[in-house]
């Protein structure tokens, strides 16, 4: 294929002029990501804090006081005493006054003194299964602390300790913000290019371009260039906002991340072009671009839900989601400080996807006005 650089450049320059003339789109391009980052960034939070816990203390002893204090000391629970019988707990859960209840038996202090094991009952509202699991884990951890403090350590034949890497405090934002970057970038980029050809079709300018000797590939390449520049500014802004706004510790190489982000941007722009070639109007193009990027990225990229816990068939489906691979790159570089050599697989996948999207867009592009 013999591409004319002059024609590509003519398209690029023209698109660039469109961009700077269209201040509304420009504002959208820079404001929307920030808004989304703020909204999702603060709303998507899996940490649980200040869980209301009802305490029914039948023991009323120093030992039980001590146990309650241990719970009070953790920032996870907000305790209140309940002087009723445990059968009231169900009502309490229904009224959402508590999510967990702790029942301390009357012989608690006596048994503790005699170094017997003594049961403490926990009732957990599991209408939110994830939260219930977390609450149960927190309870176990507090109980463990209590046991250690009161010298009731049970001797095990081995000692199990765990150290958490990369995000020791399990801060949700560290996990989500890089993912959001992946989602926002693909959405904005695909949106930008998805309307370009559809707009020319709508305004009739496509008819005028088509009668020139221009080749589809020249139109595609020419249109991608200015948006790479625009989307890159966008990406830098989102990254900076993510890093400073959410105080994400940035471990790896910024240069490497920016370069690979350009790759991801080109991929997203190519996807947008592919959408543009099949969409009949700008409205349709925007709808397809939104649907094709936002939902699959949220659900299937590992942004929120771990891929490993999906059913097998759904796991296979995630391999066609570009953000899945970009996420490996962003989280790898930002949180773990991954190096280029460790990211070759996701990079290769992104390159292949980009090429496929571009080829499909060129192939799908109609060189006449036939439907």
């Amino acid at each position: 294929m013999n591409l004319s650089f002059r024609r590509v450049w003519a398209i690029t320059r023209k698109e660039f002029l469109h961009i700077i003339h269209d201040s509304r789109t420009l504002a959208l391009v820079f404001l929307m990501p920030i808004l989304q980052l703020i909204l999702y960034g603060y709303a998507l939070n899996l940490e649980i804090q200040r869980v209301d816990m009802a305490v029914i203390d039948y023991s009323r002893s120093t030992a039980s006081r001590h146990l309650i204090e241990t719970f009070n000391g953790s920032r996870f629970f907000r305790l209140f005493e309940l002087n009723e019988n445990p059968s009231q707990v169900g009502t309490l859960f229904k009224e959402r006054k508590a999510k967990v209840a702790m029942v301390i038996p009357p012989d608690f202090a006596r048994k503790i003194r005699k170094r017997f094991t003594t049961p403490v009952q926990f009732l957990v509202d599991a209408s939110d299964a994830n939260a219930a699991t977390l609450i149960r884990n927190y309870c176990n951890r507090v109980i463990l602390t209590y046991n250690i403090n009161s010298g009731n350590k049970i001797q095990l034949p081995f000692n199990m300790g765990s150290t958490v890497f990369f995000n020791p405090n399990f801060t949700s934002a560290y996990f989500f913000v890089p993912g959001l970057i992946a989602m926002i970038l693909i959405m904005i980029s695909a949106l930008l290019t998805s309307v370009t050809i559809a707009r020319e079709r709508e305004t009739g300018t496509l008819e005028q371009i088509l009668v020139s000797p221009i080749k589809p590939a020249e139109i595609m390449i020419g249109k991608v260039f200015p948006y790479i520049f625009l989307a890159f500014l966008d990406a830098s802004m989102i990254l900076a906002f993510g890093a400073f706004g959410f105080k994400i510790p940035f471990v790896g190489s910024l240069t490497l991340l920016l370069i690979l982000s350009i790759l991801y941007i080109i991929l997203s722009l190519s996807l947008g072009l592919l959408i543009s070639t099949v969409a009949s109007s700008q409205q349709v193009a925007m709808m397809i671009a939104q649907t094709a990027t936002v939902l699959p990225t949220i659900m299937l990229s590992g942004l929120i839900f771990p891929i490993a816990s999906m059913p097998k068939w759904l796991q296979y489906l995630t391999y066609i989601i570009p953000a899945r691979f970009y996420l490996l790159i962003v989280r790898g570089i930002v949180l773990k400080g991954s190096l280029l050599a460790e990211l070759l697989t996701p990079i290769a996948v992104l390159v292949v996807m980009t090429v496929l999207f571009l080829i499909a867009a060129v192939w799908k592009f109609q060189i006449n006005l036939e439907k």
Partner: protein
């Protein structure tokens, strides 16, 4: 020498047949008019000539090249100006011209000279930094024409370029077209304005996807079979109603403040007197006239296909 040759061209949009077997050819160097009312199928034909639509049946060749097979070559030969204004409204006059010069790869050495030439005849130079959106209708059309001419096409295809343009700009536009013709360019132009047929060397008359007439305007008028009179009256509507009922009348139409009536044979002096009486003096004047393009077109349109 034939520039454009169209043989039995058919085009369907679903069940609607926009072109029903069109055959004609355009000679090199002529201004050829495609005349017909809206919806006659003019745009469909012009788009097919410009490789933008594929014929469902029949063939179209440009300089002997098939438009469905030699798309690239044909697009280099043709200059096309679509019916809708199809330039970039947010780009300036100069930016639009630059863009199309690059798109058609006008050699860089010639580019400036070519732009100057186009500025000269379009008189757009003073507006070169104005955005296309802010041009008047006539100036927009001249800019579109300049863009279509940028690569010195051998054949220029114009789809209703003068629609919605003021009379003065229309006249100026036609003057430009005649200048281009003198430089050796073949021009195929469609229009719904009958009077513009006068400007063409030959015309084809289109009606409902068919050609109903094809010749020079002069010959078409010569072939008009009736004796045409222009009639004036106090009340033209009533006069129309009256003459419609006469056996001798073959064609009749209101045109401005006159009624055009085509008779089988020349009416005798006595006939006119009788008609004045019959209309109670409504008929005031009559004059024998050669047919206008409207008369010719309406007659051809009404004939059974």
């Amino acid at each position: 020498m034939t520039a454009i040759n169209i043989q039995n061209f058919h085009k369907f949009y679903g069940s609607l047949e926009a072109a029903r077997g069109i055959t004609f050819s355009v000679q090199k160097g002529e201004i050829f008019g495609v005349i017909g009312p809206d919806g006659a199928g003019k745009t469909t034909l012009l788009r097919a000539i410009c490789t933008l639509l594929l014929p469902d049946q029949g063939s179209i060749t440009i300089n002997g090249l098939d438009v469905t097979k030699s798309v690239g070559e044909v697009r280099k030969i043709l200059g096309y100006m679509p019916q809708r204004f199809s330039l970039y409204p947010d780009l300036t006059v100069h930016q639009n011209l630059q863009f199309f010069a690059d798109l058609f790869e006008v050699p860089l050495k010639e580019k400036n000279e070519r732009l100057q030439q186009l500025y000269r005849f379009s008189k757009l130079e003073p507006f070169k930094n104005r955005k296309a959106a802010n041009l008047s209708g006539g100036m927009k059309q001249k800019l579109a024409l300049s863009c279509a001419l940028i690569h010195r096409p051998e054949i220029l295809v114009l789809d209703e370029p003068t629609t919605g343009v003021d009379p003065l700009s229309r006249q100026e536009f036609w003057e430009i077209l005649h200048t281009i013709q003198k430089e050796g360019t073949t021009i195929l132009i469609s229009t719904a304005y009958m009077d513009e047929a006068e400007q063409c060397d030959r015309v084809v008359l289109f009606f409902r996807g068919r050609t109903v007439g094809l010749d020079t305007l002069e010959n078409l008028k010569k072939k008009y079979p009736y004796r045409l009179y222009w009639l004036k009256a106090k009340n033209l509507r009533k006069l129309l109603d009256f003459f419609q009922t006469l056996e001798n009348v073959r064609a009749i139409q209101l045109s401005g403040d006159t009624l055009h009536v085509g008779f089988d044979t020349v009416p005798a002096a006595g006939d006119w007197q009788a008609w004045i009486k019959a209309t109670a003096g409504n008929l005031e004047e009559w004059e024998s006239r050669p047919p206008s393009i409207e008369d010719v077109f309406l007659d051809l349109m009404r004939r059974p296909q």
